[in-house]
């Protein structure tokens, strides 16, 4: 078990390196820093001096991989690859275009992101499982059919519509909560309620339908027939046998998302003005702040890999077949 986890951890390292290489290639090999500078400063009428200044401000004026001008280890470290990519492993992301330290900014913004993402995760999972259970309990009835149709219809609506519609109805028509914004402490609740509800609703259709399929597949198993042959009621068959088996893939499948909750949701945060990492990313994309985008890619990948690891662990814990072998 321990050996297995160590192996998984070791396996994560090359993946992280791979991610780093991909982002490096994307940001510095596809385009030269000169291209980026020219694009940010406006393509036309840009002097070479301006480009040099732009590059120097951001530390893009070094060679890509090998610095002949530097001395000693500097030949390797005084390069774009080292300062912009390798240093990320030490969580040193440099500073954004506005001069602020990215690492500090990230640590500040994690809180608001989590304040929205965690409730969305927990409520969403709960709502989808409950809805799917309801449909499965009344399977092959009109209720089930109508539920599936509702799910498909909900899946077919753009997420933007849920957000815009929710803001319009709850905030503009009913005046229940502020339309956007954020505050620290308990007052955060009134800002968080609407984005959470909207996200849960937007995700409900597809997850509930998917979970329903998992439940129904579990129903076809032989052990369900055995349970019925014992004289168990349908309710007990569903809750004691089917649910327990189906929850293993559902819960372990959800675990992978937990670490990425820190990243928040791009859309929700942007719409509701929540100062989390999602809106930070959006702002960086709109401002074409390459340093921030690069840092977010790295952190996102690292968190995803942690999620994979957690998935493995949770599988081992949840399924006796793996736990005891």
């Amino acid at each position: 078990m321990l050996a297995y986890l160590i192996r998984r951890l070791l396996y994560a390292l090359p993946i992280l390196i791979g991610v780093n290489v991909i982002t490096f290639a994307l940001f510095f090999v596809v385009n030269t820093p000169d291209d980026m500078a020219r694009m940010q400063l406006g393509v036309k009428r840009v002097t070479p001096e301006a480009i040099e200044r732009w590059k120097a401000e951001r530390g893009y004026d070094k060679p890509l991989f090998w610095n002949d001008a530097a001395a000693g280890t500097g030949k390797a470290t005084e390069t774009i690859f080292f300062t912009k990519s390798v240093k990320m492993f030490a969580l040193d992301f440099g500073s954004a275009d506005d001069g602020r330290d990215i690492a500090r900014e990230i640590s500040l913004r994690m809180g608001p992101s989590l304040a929205v993402a965690l409730p969305v995760f927990a409520l969403g999972l709960f709502a989808a499982i409950a809805f799917a259970l309801l449909l499965v309990y009344f399977r092959a009835s009109y209720l089930d059919f109508a539920g599936v149709v509702l799910c498909v219809a909900m899946m077919s609506i753009s997420g933007l519509f849920y957000i815009i519609g929710g803001q319009w109805l709850v905030s503009k028509v009913w005046h229940l909560v502020p339309i956007s914004g954020y505050a620290e402490g308990l007052t955060a609740a009134k800002f968080v309620v609407l984005p959470v509800l909207v996200s849960v609703l937007a995700g409900l259709g597809s997850s509930a339908r998917w979970y329903r399929t998992i439940f129904l597949e579990e129903y076809t198993r032989d052990y369900v027939r055995t349970a019925r042959a014992k004289g168990l009621s349908e309710r007990l068959v569903l809750f004691r046998h089917v649910l327990r088996n189906a929850l293993i893939p559902i819960l372990t499948g959800a675990v992978v998302a937990i670490p990425t909750l820190f990243m928040g949701s791009l859309l929700i945060e942007a719409f509701f003005g929540i100062p989390g990492l999602g809106s930070y990313t959006i702002d960086a994309i709109n401002a074409q702040d390459f340093a921030v985008v690069r840092a977010m890619v790295f952190i996102g990948s690292a968190l995803y890999i942690v999620g994979l690891l957690l998935t493995d662990i949770s599988y081992t814990l949840a399924d006796p077949r793996i736990r005891l072998q």
């Binding site: 160590i6 014992k230 004691r240």
Partner: protein, 656 residues
């Protein structure tokens, strides 16, 4: 047919799936304490009948008509809530697949306790242990806390039985309870069922396709064919003189000693698919003695003797022309149609396997280093001459299939040597050896036409000649219509698919055919067709067969030589005669004793427990933990080969 004091009374029960009636007008009674066996081939509706009694039919199926009375209750009229009390409480049921029929994430104890609580037993914990002990599970207190995957197949089936017994049912329905188990384990479970039934005076409805199991377990027998009961008889009367032509042909199709070296009687054609409209008798197309009336009107029930009724137009025929039923003392080798060429003198054997090993590494730790090996095949030596048949016998997991794959080159051996016609061999030799697989459904690509499947080898090896003509010829050779080349596999029955697979293997004209359980997925009547075909092909083409099987009866019928495998090693080999009649190894003896035979005598569970894992074989003789004769020296060293006769070798410390 009605008994005076029947516990279960089924009248005119029909089950519908859509418009089809896979079970139609089935009526029978079961008296308290008796065992009634429902016998039939796959798809005859016997399992659906059982599920209908429990009202556990799959969603697509429903009870169309009929009545089921249990004691004084009409089960069909009960509300679902009341029916739940009957399930488990009055009627218990066990199923074919113990591995999938238990909930994988609940401990066995919890699953039994659940049944106990439902039927009003509060002191569950002790009762669970008691029940597990009653079904012969060693160390029941510890086993109760284990999950199903930690148990062997036999153990799981015992746990299933314990669960079914929890509600103290008056009738136990056992749906093919031992079909998924090895023969030695089957003997143990059948023993257990019989003992439990006697002790608890419980009635049993035993559903099976195995005449041997029926012979050893049943008080009365009902034979089902194409959704109908066609014969009901007390066991003795049934085995002495089966009445229905279908039942008589089933007996004749059994490859047992009686039929050795002669062609098996087969039942032509196949079972009509459910949904077929029948004007007359359902068996008429396949019946050799059909009268005009058989086509026109459904046959009536005729009472041959008290309690022995047959649904047939024909007058009672006590004995079918030729051999029927239990015929004793038919000496071997009188038929002589199954070719089995005499040993060629001097020439090197077609296939020589010496000290073959196939190890699979067990990887552990951070660096996934191999910390040990699963010794699937651990030093197997075989010799097979051209035109002969060698049977490799063993229970599941003994490594017999791996031997076949290693010889063929599908599995890289870890050690040992192979020689074909005296020349060493490594890797594939497609033109020399081919394989026929077990599962007729998995062995044909569903996306290719039959013609393309058969021609596959011709194309791959770029053999000369007109491939289309060769395909036609091959299909004819295996008894199929050449016009079938344009059709897809799903249009064929299991037996026909197996014929296609044989044609595919024969296309490249190999000298050796490795047959890996080619008939174990088939019904008895179809098995006979395939065995006959294999015999004919051997006679005509001079093929050698390496026949991998667990079915002793097939070995006895087909093979000239036998090798018995246990845990990756051959424990006894020799001529079929020598090994099967004069077995010396305790394992071989146990295996033979465990086979349920029609001829009576009863099965004997001579060995207890389960085979150990090949990853961690016991020291010394692998069989010693289960062996009744084991002594200190068996625990210390693996026995060497002892040659008993020129062609009889055994690896046991007590060869005498």
């Amino acid at each position: 047919m009605s008994l005076p004091m029947s516990l279960l009374r089924v009248r005119d029960l029909s089950v519908a799936i859509g418009d089809a009636l896979p079970v139609e007008d089935v009526s029978f009674d079961i008296a308290a304490g008796e065992t009634f066996a429902l016998l039939g081939e796959s798809g005859c509706g016997k399992s659906l009948t059982a599920l209908a009694l429990m009202r556990l039919l799959p969603p697509a199926a429903r009870i169309a008509s009929g009545a089921v009375r249990f004691a004084d209750t009409d089960l069909c009229a009960l509300s679902e809530a009341r029916m739940r009390d009957v399930r488990g409480g009055k009627l218990g049921m066990i199923f074919q697949e113990p591995s999938s029929s238990l909930n994988p994430v609940m401990t066995v104890g919890a699953q039994i306790a659940e049944a106990l609580r439902l039927h009003g037993d509060a002191a569950a914990r002790e009762r669970v242990v008691e029940l597990l002990a009653a079904v012969g599970i060693p160390d029941p207190a510890r086993r109760a806390g284990e999950y199903p995957f930690q148990m062997s197949g036999g153990m799981k089936q015992r746990a299933m039985i314990a669960m079914a017994l929890a509600g103290e049912p008056e009738l136990l329905i056992a749906d093919e309870p031992t079909t998924a188990l090895d023969v030695t384990i089957q003997a143990q479970v059948l023993d257990l069922l019989r003992a439990l039934q006697r002790r608890r005076a419980m009635a049993m409805l035993l559903i099976t396709h195995d005449l041997g199991v029926v012979a050893n377990m049943a008080d009365r027998v009902g034979v089902m064919y194409a959704g109908q009961l066609v014969e009901i008889a007390p066991r003795a009367a049934f085995f002495a003189a089966p009445g229905h032509p279908y039942a008589r042909r089933l007996f004749a199709a059994l490859p047992d000693t009686a039929a050795r070296r002669s062609r098996l009687a087969t039942i032509p054609g196949s079972v009509p698919p459910p949904g077929t409209r029948h004007a007359g008798c359902r068996f008429v197309e396949r019946c050799g003695e059909a009268l005009p009336v058989c086509h026109a009107a459904p046959p009536p029930w005729r009472e041959y003797a008290p309690g022995h009724a047959v649904r047939c137009h024909l007058p009672a025929l006590p004995v079918l022309a030729g051999k029927v039923g239990v015929t004793e003392g038919n000496p071997c080798g009188t038929g002589g149609t199954v070719a089995d060429a005499a040993a060629p003198g001097g020439a090197p054997p077609l296939l020589a396997v010496s000290d073959l090993q196939v190890y699979f590494p067990i990887r552990k730790g951070v660096l996934r280093r191999a910390v040990g090996h699963v010794r699937a095949v651990d030093g197997v030596s075989l010799v097979l001459h051209a035109g002969r048949t060698l049977a490799l016998v063993g229970e599941s997991g003994c490594g017999k299939t791996t031997v076949g794959k290693a010889i063929l080159g599908l599995q890289a051996p870890s050690g040992g040597a192979l020689a074909l016609d005296g020349a060493p061999l490594a890797g594939l030799a497609p033109r020399r050896m081919q394989m026929v697989f077990q599962d007729p459904y998995g062995s044909l690509n569903p996306r290719l036409r039959v013609g393309e499947i058969v021609a596959e080898g011709l194309c791959a090896l770029r053999l000369p000649g007109d491939h289309a003509a060769q395909v036609r010829e091959l299909l004819a050779q295996v008894g199929l219509d050449a016009a079938m080349a344009g059709r897809y596999p799903h249009e064929f029955s299991g037996g026909q698919r197996q014929r296609i697979a044989i044609a595919r293997a024969l296309a490249v004209r190999p000298g050796l055919l490795i047959c890996d359980e080619p008939t174990s997925a088939l019904d008895v009547s179809v098995q006979a067709q395939i065995l006959n075909l294999l015999g004919d092909l051997q006679a005509r083409l001079g093929l050698a067969y390496l026949f991998i099987t667990h079915n002793i009866a097939v070995v006895d019928y087909l093979a000239r030589e036998v090798a018995v495998m246990y845990l990756g090693r051959i424990v006894e080999r020799g001529t079929t005669e020598a090994v099967l009649r004069g077995a010396r190894h305790p394992y071989t003896q146990a295996l033979l004793a465990a086979v349920p035979r029609i001829a009576g005598g009863g099965v004997e569970a001579r060995v207890a427990g389960d085979p150990p894992s090949p990853a961690n074989p016991p020291p010394g003789c692998h069989f010693h933990p289960r062996c009744p004769r084991a002594e200190a020296r068996c625990r210390a060293s693996y026995p060497d080969e002892t040659t008993l006769a020129a062609d009889h070798v055994v690896r046991c410390h007590f060869p005498a």
